[in-house]
Symmetry: C2
Subunit: 216 residues, 2 copies
């Protein structure tokens, strides 16, 4: 098969994805749902951050769609806390796409609240696929190192809010915040960058304030 044919197929995949994403976004907006696509590397603490955020939300219903290749630990953790959450297993695919989200949204039966869509742990492909979201939240960590904006630029460029997790470990790791921020700001002038710790719970009030500004 020719390379041109491969490029044509990939373009068709992107176009179809974006078309469905626009429809989902429109339907969610009509239902009073603000949807956030939560991205980050494996083990960045996406679910831990969602738990901290959700327990601080007032006057707004949280919903979660959990994306994983396999397993459903995070969905069970969230459901045990009383959160309306459902699992998507991609069975191998390295990112969520909009047809997968369309089905999950129908199943959840959403109205008036915030929908968090936790993407596959991956700093590359999730940033390339719209899934009907109103905003993208990128969760980075001090343990991953300060060169991540330079190595994985698209995720940092497209983020509407950047959370730096695991700040309780700052005394024990070599994280150069100035270098990190220089990399972020070369790609993204406006996204707020908020330091948090899933362990000490610091910083999540600021993340929740940002979300509530968007929702109200």
């Amino acid at each position: 098969m020719s390379e041109n044919k491969e490029i044509e197929v990939m373009q068709s995949v992107y176009d179809k994805n974006d078309e469905v994403a626009a429809k989902i976004n429109s339907a969610l907006t009509k239902s009073g749902i603000y949807a956030i696509n939560v991205m980050g590397a494996p083990g960045a603490g996406k679910t831990t951050s969602l738990i901290q955020i959700i327990k601080r939300l007032t006057d707004v219903i949280p919903y979660v769609i959990e994306g994983d290749i396999e397993a459903d630990f995070d969905t069970k953790t969230l459901q045990a806390l009383g959160v309306k959450a459902i699992q998507i297993n991609t069975g191998g695919a390295c990112h969520l796409d909009s047809p997968l989200i369309g089905n999950a949204v129908d199943e959840l039966g959403l109205s008036n609240g915030v929908l968090f869509i936790e993407n596959i742990g991956n700093l590359v492909c999730p940033a390339e696929f719209m899934i009907g979201e109103h905003a993208k939240m990128l969760i980075s960590t001090v343990t991953e190192g300060s060169d991540k904006p330079y190595k994985y630029p698209l995720a940092f460029e497209k983020a509407d809010i950047i959370v730096i997790n695991k700040c309780d470990l700052l005394p024990y790791v070599d994280f150069d915040e100035e270098f990190f921020m220089k990399g972020v700001r070369a790609l993204n002038k406006t996204a707020p960058v908020i330091k948090v710790s899933g362990k000490t719970e610091e910083g999540f009030d600021k993340v929740v304030s940002w979300i509530m500004e968007k929702v109200k």
Copy 2:
């Protein structure tokens, strides 16, 4: 475009990749090169681990191919240490493939040594693509959490050696080693699992012993 057409194109991509990978593997073997595909999440410490391994290698020449979406920090770090290293930037692609490696191998001009191919930081796609390697080394970390084998099974299943990095941070994180190992062994009965720390340098002697067993 139909879904069948998309599946056909993907199958063609895999087939073409594997065909080139087999040729590279054969050529490397003839040149006395043992090639290791080094995989891990963003920030797992792949380059840091390579530096610790390379400085312990005796009587064998190390070569490195560094894969990144963008940037070349790691190649420069390795070259500054006198290592013969070259950079591949995929410009967006989330994994290395064998045509990319074929070109880099020609450029490096290898003979009689160990070639480390540091893949893109990603726990998903790199495990799906052969790139001419003789073995796959997976670098996981205690900061990523102990559920990673369950969530990203293919990388753990296919690994010939599993390195758990950042063990100096064990006192400060919740890493359940028993749960981690249960997940690993459900997928992979034989790969040695070796705990290391890029910071304290513990454990790398064992990794180097494993490599030297393969090379001799």
